[in-house]
Protein backbone atom coordinates (compact mmCIF):
# COMPACT_ATOMS: atom_id res chain seq x y z
CA UNK A 1 0.00 0.00 0.00
CA UNK A 2 1.46 3.35 -1.00
CA UNK A 3 0.71 6.82 0.30
CA UNK A 4 -0.46 9.20 -2.42
CA UNK A 5 -0.42 12.94 -1.76
CA UNK A 6 -2.51 15.08 -4.12
CA UNK A 7 -1.97 18.80 -4.55
CA UNK A 8 -5.18 20.42 -5.80
CA UNK A 9 -7.67 23.10 -4.78
CA UNK A 10 -8.52 20.62 -1.97
CA UNK A 11 -5.23 18.99 -0.96
CA UNK A 12 -5.80 15.39 0.08
CA UNK A 13 -4.07 12.10 0.45
CA UNK A 14 -5.06 8.46 0.26
CA UNK A 15 -3.59 4.97 0.34
CA UNK A 16 -3.37 3.04 -2.92
CA UNK A 17 -2.34 -0.58 -3.51
CA UNK A 18 -0.13 -1.34 -6.55
CA UNK A 19 -2.91 -3.16 -8.44
CA UNK A 20 -5.26 -0.16 -8.39
CA UNK A 21 -4.88 2.98 -10.49
CA UNK A 22 -4.45 6.19 -8.51
CA UNK A 23 -7.97 7.26 -9.50
CA UNK A 24 -9.48 3.92 -8.50
CA UNK A 25 -7.58 4.02 -5.20
CA UNK A 26 -8.82 7.55 -4.54
CA UNK A 27 -12.45 6.66 -5.36
CA UNK A 28 -12.26 3.55 -3.13
CA UNK A 29 -11.58 5.82 -0.16
CA UNK A 30 -14.24 8.41 -1.11
CA UNK A 31 -11.57 11.09 -1.54
CA UNK A 32 -12.40 13.85 -4.04
CA UNK A 33 -9.13 15.49 -5.05
CA UNK A 34 -8.95 14.54 -8.74
CA UNK A 35 -11.82 14.85 -11.26
CA UNK A 36 -13.35 11.50 -12.18
CA UNK A 37 -14.28 11.03 -15.84
CA UNK A 38 -14.32 7.86 -17.95
CA UNK A 39 -11.81 5.90 -15.83
CA UNK A 40 -10.44 4.39 -19.05
CA UNK A 41 -7.67 6.72 -20.25
CA UNK A 42 -9.88 8.30 -22.90
CA UNK A 43 -11.27 11.62 -21.69
CA UNK A 44 -8.52 13.58 -19.91
CA UNK A 45 -10.69 14.53 -16.93
CA UNK A 46 -8.36 13.02 -14.31
CA UNK A 47 -5.11 14.50 -15.62
CA UNK A 48 -2.31 14.90 -13.10
CA UNK A 49 1.32 15.97 -13.08
CA UNK A 50 3.54 13.50 -11.27
CA UNK A 51 5.95 15.34 -8.97
CA UNK A 52 7.53 12.45 -7.07
CA UNK A 53 7.36 8.68 -7.01
CA UNK A 54 7.69 5.53 -9.08
CA UNK A 55 4.80 4.18 -11.14
CA UNK A 56 3.74 2.10 -14.13
CA UNK A 57 1.29 3.50 -16.68
CA UNK A 58 -1.13 1.91 -19.13
CA UNK A 59 -1.77 3.48 -22.53
CA UNK A 60 -3.68 6.78 -22.39
CA UNK A 61 -5.25 8.96 -25.09
CA UNK A 62 -2.67 11.20 -26.79
CA UNK A 63 -5.52 13.64 -27.49
CA UNK A 64 -5.31 14.64 -23.82
CA UNK A 65 -1.71 13.73 -22.92
CA UNK A 66 0.72 13.88 -25.84
CA UNK A 67 3.85 11.74 -25.77
CA UNK A 68 5.82 14.94 -24.99
CA UNK A 69 3.51 15.76 -22.08
CA UNK A 70 3.86 12.19 -20.80
CA UNK A 71 7.65 12.61 -20.91
CA UNK A 72 7.21 15.83 -18.90
CA UNK A 73 5.37 13.94 -16.15
CA UNK A 74 1.75 14.48 -17.14
CA UNK A 75 -0.54 11.46 -17.02
CA UNK A 76 -4.15 10.37 -16.59
CA UNK A 77 -4.48 9.10 -13.03
CA UNK A 78 -6.85 6.30 -14.10
CA UNK A 79 -3.90 4.76 -15.98
CA UNK A 80 -1.17 5.21 -13.34
CA UNK A 81 -0.33 2.37 -10.93
CA UNK A 82 1.90 3.29 -7.98
CA UNK A 83 5.18 1.51 -7.28
CA UNK A 84 6.19 3.80 -4.39
CA UNK A 85 4.70 6.62 -2.35
CA UNK A 86 3.79 9.44 -4.76
CA UNK A 87 3.15 13.16 -4.82
CA UNK A 88 0.98 14.40 -7.72
CA UNK A 89 -0.77 17.60 -8.75
CA UNK A 90 -4.34 17.52 -10.14
CA UNK A 91 -4.43 19.58 -13.35
CA UNK A 92 -7.72 18.60 -15.04
CA UNK A 93 -8.31 18.41 -18.78
CA UNK A 94 -7.34 21.93 -19.86
Amino acid sequence: MFHIEVISSDDASFECPPEKSLLHGMESQSVKAINVGCRGGGCGFCKIRILEGEFEAKKMSIKFVTKEAQAAGFALSCRVFPRSNMRVMAVGND
Binding site: V36, C38, C43, K59
Partner: protein, 305 residues
Protein backbone atom coordinates in the same frame (compact mmCIF):
# COMPACT_ATOMS: atom_id res chain seq x y z
CA UNK B 1 -38.25 15.77 -46.81
CA UNK B 2 -36.82 12.29 -47.25
CA UNK B 3 -33.79 12.11 -49.55
CA UNK B 4 -33.22 8.36 -49.53
CA UNK B 5 -31.21 7.99 -46.33
CA UNK B 6 -32.52 4.88 -44.56
CA UNK B 7 -30.80 5.51 -41.25
CA UNK B 8 -27.91 4.86 -38.91
CA UNK B 9 -25.93 1.83 -40.01
CA UNK B 10 -22.51 1.77 -38.40
CA UNK B 11 -19.91 3.48 -36.25
CA UNK B 12 -16.14 2.98 -36.18
CA UNK B 13 -14.82 3.50 -32.66
CA UNK B 14 -11.17 4.03 -31.67
CA UNK B 15 -10.00 2.00 -28.70
CA UNK B 16 -6.71 1.93 -26.79
CA UNK B 17 -6.58 -1.88 -26.49
CA UNK B 18 -8.41 -4.03 -29.00
CA UNK B 19 -8.58 -7.16 -26.83
CA UNK B 20 -10.08 -5.31 -23.86
CA UNK B 21 -12.52 -3.63 -26.27
CA UNK B 22 -13.64 -6.93 -27.82
CA UNK B 23 -14.27 -8.39 -24.37
CA UNK B 24 -16.39 -5.33 -23.56
CA UNK B 25 -18.43 -5.03 -26.75
CA UNK B 26 -18.81 -8.77 -27.48
CA UNK B 27 -18.89 -10.52 -24.11
CA UNK B 28 -20.40 -7.77 -21.93
CA UNK B 29 -22.56 -5.64 -24.23
CA UNK B 30 -23.47 -8.84 -26.07
CA UNK B 31 -22.78 -7.90 -29.69
CA UNK B 32 -21.84 -10.70 -32.08
CA UNK B 33 -18.37 -10.69 -33.66
CA UNK B 34 -18.74 -11.11 -37.42
CA UNK B 35 -15.27 -10.51 -38.86
CA UNK B 36 -11.74 -9.11 -38.47
CA UNK B 37 -9.63 -7.50 -41.17
CA UNK B 38 -5.96 -7.15 -42.16
CA UNK B 39 -5.77 -3.82 -40.30
CA UNK B 40 -6.76 -5.62 -37.10
CA UNK B 41 -10.19 -4.03 -36.99
CA UNK B 42 -12.96 -6.08 -35.37
CA UNK B 43 -16.51 -6.12 -36.79
CA UNK B 44 -19.61 -6.65 -34.66
CA UNK B 45 -23.39 -6.38 -34.86
CA UNK B 46 -26.44 -6.75 -32.67
CA UNK B 47 -28.37 -10.00 -33.00
CA UNK B 48 -31.43 -8.37 -34.65
CA UNK B 49 -29.35 -6.62 -37.29
CA UNK B 50 -29.19 -8.26 -40.71
CA UNK B 51 -26.23 -6.41 -42.22
CA UNK B 52 -22.75 -7.80 -41.61
CA UNK B 53 -21.63 -5.18 -39.08
CA UNK B 54 -22.75 -2.06 -37.23
CA UNK B 55 -19.75 -1.53 -34.94
CA UNK B 56 -16.12 -1.53 -36.04
CA UNK B 57 -13.38 -1.31 -33.40
CA UNK B 58 -9.97 0.08 -34.36
CA UNK B 59 -6.98 0.17 -32.01
CA UNK B 60 -5.41 3.63 -31.88
CA UNK B 61 -3.48 6.00 -29.59
CA UNK B 62 -6.63 7.91 -28.69
CA UNK B 63 -10.24 7.02 -28.00
CA UNK B 64 -13.19 8.54 -29.88
CA UNK B 65 -15.19 8.07 -33.07
CA UNK B 66 -13.58 7.72 -36.51
CA UNK B 67 -16.86 8.04 -38.39
CA UNK B 68 -20.51 7.12 -38.40
CA UNK B 69 -22.22 5.61 -41.47
CA UNK B 70 -25.74 5.91 -42.85
CA UNK B 71 -27.27 3.50 -45.33
CA UNK B 72 -29.04 4.93 -48.37
CA UNK B 73 -31.63 3.29 -50.64
CA UNK B 74 -29.46 2.53 -53.67
CA UNK B 75 -26.43 3.59 -55.70
CA UNK B 76 -28.39 6.26 -57.63
CA UNK B 77 -29.25 7.95 -54.32
CA UNK B 78 -25.60 7.57 -53.26
CA UNK B 79 -24.37 9.35 -56.42
CA UNK B 80 -26.95 12.09 -56.15
CA UNK B 81 -26.28 12.76 -52.45
CA UNK B 82 -22.52 12.74 -53.14
CA UNK B 83 -23.00 15.69 -55.50
CA UNK B 84 -25.34 17.44 -53.06
CA UNK B 85 -22.69 17.11 -50.31
CA UNK B 86 -20.06 18.64 -52.59
CA UNK B 87 -22.45 21.47 -53.52
CA UNK B 88 -23.12 22.09 -49.80
CA UNK B 89 -19.38 22.56 -49.28
CA UNK B 90 -18.41 19.32 -47.58
CA UNK B 91 -14.99 17.78 -48.16
CA UNK B 92 -15.95 14.52 -49.84
CA UNK B 93 -13.78 11.41 -50.12
CA UNK B 94 -14.64 8.25 -52.06
CA UNK B 95 -13.84 5.08 -50.13
CA UNK B 96 -13.67 2.04 -52.41
CA UNK B 97 -15.80 -1.07 -51.97
CA UNK B 98 -14.19 -3.58 -49.65
CA UNK B 99 -12.21 -1.07 -47.55
CA UNK B 100 -14.50 -2.30 -44.82
CA UNK B 101 -15.10 -6.03 -45.31
CA UNK B 102 -18.46 -6.66 -46.92
CA UNK B 103 -19.27 -2.99 -47.53
CA UNK B 104 -19.81 -1.36 -50.91
CA UNK B 105 -18.42 2.03 -51.96
CA UNK B 106 -18.74 4.70 -49.29
CA UNK B 107 -18.87 8.47 -49.64
CA UNK B 108 -17.19 10.07 -46.66
CA UNK B 109 -17.80 13.71 -45.72
CA UNK B 110 -17.06 16.11 -42.92
CA UNK B 111 -19.58 18.27 -41.05
CA UNK B 112 -19.60 21.76 -39.53
CA UNK B 113 -19.30 20.21 -36.05
CA UNK B 114 -16.09 18.49 -37.16
CA UNK B 115 -17.35 14.92 -37.28
CA UNK B 116 -16.76 12.49 -40.13
CA UNK B 117 -19.74 10.70 -41.64
CA UNK B 118 -20.29 8.42 -44.58
CA UNK B 119 -23.12 7.12 -46.73
CA UNK B 120 -23.23 3.85 -48.62
CA UNK B 121 -25.86 1.72 -50.39
CA UNK B 122 -24.64 -1.85 -50.14
CA UNK B 123 -23.46 -4.08 -47.33
CA UNK B 124 -23.28 -7.85 -47.14
CA UNK B 125 -26.42 -9.25 -45.52
CA UNK B 126 -25.72 -12.06 -43.08
CA UNK B 127 -29.20 -12.03 -41.53
CA UNK B 128 -30.53 -11.86 -38.03
CA UNK B 129 -29.07 -14.37 -35.61
CA UNK B 130 -32.43 -16.17 -35.50
CA UNK B 131 -32.62 -16.40 -39.29
CA UNK B 132 -35.45 -15.19 -41.52
CA UNK B 133 -37.56 -18.32 -41.94
CA UNK B 134 -39.85 -19.30 -39.07
CA UNK B 135 -37.48 -17.56 -36.65
CA UNK B 136 -37.53 -18.15 -32.91
CA UNK B 137 -38.00 -15.19 -30.56
CA UNK B 138 -34.33 -14.74 -29.70
CA UNK B 139 -31.08 -16.68 -29.89
CA UNK B 140 -30.45 -18.81 -26.79
CA UNK B 141 -26.70 -18.16 -26.59
CA UNK B 142 -26.62 -14.36 -26.22
CA UNK B 143 -24.08 -12.88 -23.84
CA UNK B 144 -24.10 -10.11 -21.25
CA UNK B 145 -26.52 -7.23 -21.79
CA UNK B 146 -27.93 -8.84 -24.98
CA UNK B 147 -27.82 -5.62 -27.02
CA UNK B 148 -30.25 -6.01 -29.90
CA UNK B 149 -28.78 -3.36 -32.20
CA UNK B 150 -26.53 -0.34 -32.51
CA UNK B 151 -29.06 2.48 -32.44
CA UNK B 152 -27.60 6.02 -32.55
CA UNK B 153 -24.75 8.32 -31.48
CA UNK B 154 -24.65 11.60 -29.58
CA UNK B 155 -21.90 13.94 -30.73
CA UNK B 156 -20.58 17.25 -29.37
CA UNK B 157 -19.40 20.21 -31.42
CA UNK B 158 -19.68 23.95 -31.92
CA UNK B 159 -21.53 24.63 -35.19
CA UNK B 160 -24.88 22.99 -34.49
CA UNK B 161 -26.66 25.26 -36.95
CA UNK B 162 -24.37 24.27 -39.82
CA UNK B 163 -24.73 20.58 -39.06
CA UNK B 164 -28.53 20.93 -38.74
CA UNK B 165 -28.61 22.48 -42.21
CA UNK B 166 -26.45 19.66 -43.59
CA UNK B 167 -28.61 16.92 -42.07
CA UNK B 168 -32.01 18.43 -42.82
CA UNK B 169 -31.45 20.12 -46.18
CA UNK B 170 -28.94 17.76 -47.81
CA UNK B 171 -29.59 14.41 -46.15
CA UNK B 172 -33.33 14.77 -45.49
CA UNK B 173 -33.37 14.25 -41.71
CA UNK B 174 -36.21 15.59 -39.55
CA UNK B 175 -35.57 17.60 -36.38
CA UNK B 176 -37.52 15.61 -33.79
CA UNK B 177 -36.42 17.30 -30.56
CA UNK B 178 -34.36 20.30 -29.56
CA UNK B 179 -33.27 22.20 -26.46
CA UNK B 180 -33.26 25.99 -26.81
CA UNK B 181 -31.47 28.65 -24.76
CA UNK B 182 -33.36 31.66 -26.10
CA UNK B 183 -32.63 31.62 -29.83
CA UNK B 184 -29.62 29.33 -29.46
CA UNK B 185 -30.18 25.64 -30.11
CA UNK B 186 -28.07 23.73 -27.59
CA UNK B 187 -29.26 20.22 -28.49
CA UNK B 188 -30.75 18.73 -31.65
CA UNK B 189 -32.13 15.24 -32.24
CA UNK B 190 -32.51 14.07 -35.84
CA UNK B 191 -34.09 11.10 -37.61
CA UNK B 192 -34.94 9.69 -41.03
CA UNK B 193 -37.17 6.97 -39.64
CA UNK B 194 -39.73 6.33 -36.90
CA UNK B 195 -36.91 6.22 -34.34
CA UNK B 196 -36.93 9.37 -32.20
CA UNK B 197 -33.27 9.88 -33.12
CA UNK B 198 -30.81 8.34 -35.52
CA UNK B 199 -28.24 10.91 -34.36
CA UNK B 200 -28.09 13.78 -31.88
CA UNK B 201 -25.80 16.74 -31.30
CA UNK B 202 -25.07 18.95 -28.29
CA UNK B 203 -23.42 22.36 -28.59
CA UNK B 204 -19.95 22.55 -27.04
CA UNK B 205 -16.75 24.42 -27.76
CA UNK B 206 -14.52 22.48 -30.11
CA UNK B 207 -15.10 19.97 -32.87
CA UNK B 208 -15.44 16.28 -33.47
CA UNK B 209 -16.19 15.15 -29.93
CA UNK B 210 -17.80 11.76 -29.24
CA UNK B 211 -20.28 11.60 -26.37
CA UNK B 212 -21.72 8.09 -26.76
CA UNK B 213 -22.79 5.21 -28.94
CA UNK B 214 -26.13 3.75 -27.95
CA UNK B 215 -27.46 0.21 -28.09
CA UNK B 216 -31.08 -0.88 -27.87
CA UNK B 217 -32.28 -3.39 -25.28
CA UNK B 218 -35.71 -5.02 -25.26
CA UNK B 219 -37.13 -3.71 -22.01
CA UNK B 220 -36.72 -1.68 -18.82
CA UNK B 221 -36.00 -4.97 -17.07
CA UNK B 222 -33.04 -5.46 -19.41
CA UNK B 223 -31.79 -1.93 -18.59
CA UNK B 224 -31.89 -2.84 -14.89
CA UNK B 225 -30.07 -6.12 -15.56
CA UNK B 226 -27.46 -4.22 -17.62
CA UNK B 227 -26.92 -2.10 -14.50
CA UNK B 228 -26.50 -5.29 -12.44
CA UNK B 229 -23.90 -6.58 -14.92
CA UNK B 230 -22.06 -3.23 -14.81
CA UNK B 231 -21.62 -3.79 -11.07
CA UNK B 232 -20.78 -7.50 -11.42
CA UNK B 233 -18.03 -6.73 -13.95
CA UNK B 234 -16.97 -3.49 -12.25
CA UNK B 235 -17.49 -1.56 -15.50
CA UNK B 236 -16.94 2.20 -15.21
CA UNK B 237 -20.42 3.67 -14.63
CA UNK B 238 -21.54 7.14 -15.66
CA UNK B 239 -25.18 7.46 -14.60
CA UNK B 240 -28.40 5.51 -14.36
CA UNK B 241 -30.55 3.55 -14.63
CA UNK B 242 -32.96 6.42 -15.14
CA UNK B 243 -35.22 7.98 -17.77
CA UNK B 244 -34.52 10.83 -20.17
CA UNK B 245 -36.95 13.68 -20.72
CA UNK B 246 -35.63 14.07 -24.26
CA UNK B 247 -36.99 11.02 -26.17
CA UNK B 248 -38.26 9.57 -22.82
CA UNK B 249 -35.97 6.55 -23.21
CA UNK B 250 -35.09 4.36 -20.22
CA UNK B 251 -31.35 4.39 -19.98
CA UNK B 252 -28.03 3.64 -18.35
CA UNK B 253 -24.62 5.08 -19.29
CA UNK B 254 -21.20 3.54 -18.77
CA UNK B 255 -17.76 3.56 -20.37
CA UNK B 256 -15.86 1.05 -22.48
CA UNK B 257 -12.31 0.18 -21.30
CA UNK B 258 -10.89 3.05 -23.41
CA UNK B 259 -13.25 5.64 -21.97
CA UNK B 260 -15.76 5.84 -24.82
CA UNK B 261 -19.24 6.25 -23.37
CA UNK B 262 -21.91 3.66 -24.17
CA UNK B 263 -25.62 3.81 -23.54
CA UNK B 264 -28.00 0.90 -23.34
CA UNK B 265 -31.64 1.92 -23.45
CA UNK B 266 -35.18 0.72 -23.97
CA UNK B 267 -38.49 2.33 -24.84
CA UNK B 268 -39.00 6.00 -25.54
CA UNK B 269 -40.91 7.94 -28.12
CA UNK B 270 -41.57 7.28 -31.80
CA UNK B 271 -41.53 9.87 -34.53
CA UNK B 272 -44.01 10.10 -37.36
CA UNK B 273 -43.28 12.50 -40.25
CA UNK B 274 -45.26 15.67 -39.83
CA UNK B 275 -45.11 15.67 -36.05
CA UNK B 276 -44.10 19.00 -34.55
CA UNK B 277 -40.54 19.28 -33.23
CA UNK B 278 -40.50 18.83 -29.44
CA UNK B 279 -38.75 21.70 -27.67
CA UNK B 280 -37.11 21.71 -24.23
CA UNK B 281 -36.38 25.09 -22.66
CA UNK B 282 -32.89 25.65 -21.23
CA UNK B 283 -34.28 26.14 -17.72
CA UNK B 284 -35.79 22.63 -17.95
CA UNK B 285 -32.55 21.08 -19.21
CA UNK B 286 -32.00 19.07 -16.02
CA UNK B 287 -35.39 17.38 -16.47
CA UNK B 288 -34.80 17.06 -20.21
CA UNK B 289 -31.63 15.05 -19.69
CA UNK B 290 -32.37 13.22 -16.42
CA UNK B 291 -36.12 13.11 -15.96
CA UNK B 292 -36.05 11.91 -12.35
CA UNK B 293 -33.04 13.69 -10.77
CA UNK B 294 -33.92 16.86 -12.75
CA UNK B 295 -30.37 18.10 -12.48
CA UNK B 296 -27.38 17.81 -14.76
CA UNK B 297 -24.21 16.03 -13.83
CA UNK B 298 -20.85 17.45 -14.73
CA UNK B 299 -19.37 14.17 -15.92
CA UNK B 300 -22.28 13.38 -18.24
CA UNK B 301 -22.17 16.92 -19.58
CA UNK B 302 -18.44 17.37 -20.09
CA UNK B 303 -16.71 14.02 -20.52
CA UNK B 304 -16.17 13.16 -24.19
CA UNK B 305 -13.51 11.30 -26.16
Amino acid sequence: MQKGVIGTAHVQIRVLDIDEAVTHYRDRLGLLETDRDSQGRVYLKGWTEADKFSVVLREADEAGMDFMGFKVLNNEVLASLRQDLIDFGCNVEDIPAGELNGCGPRVRFDSPTGHMFEIFAEKEVVGRATGHRNPDAWPMDLKGMKATRFDHCLLYGDDLDGTLKLFTEVLGFWLTEQAMDGDVRIAQFLTTSMKEHEIAFIRAEGKGMFHHASFLLESWDDVLKAADLISMWDISIDIGPTRHGLTHGQTIYFFDPSGNRNETFAGGDWYVPGMPTTTWDAEKLGKAVFYHARELNERFLNVTT
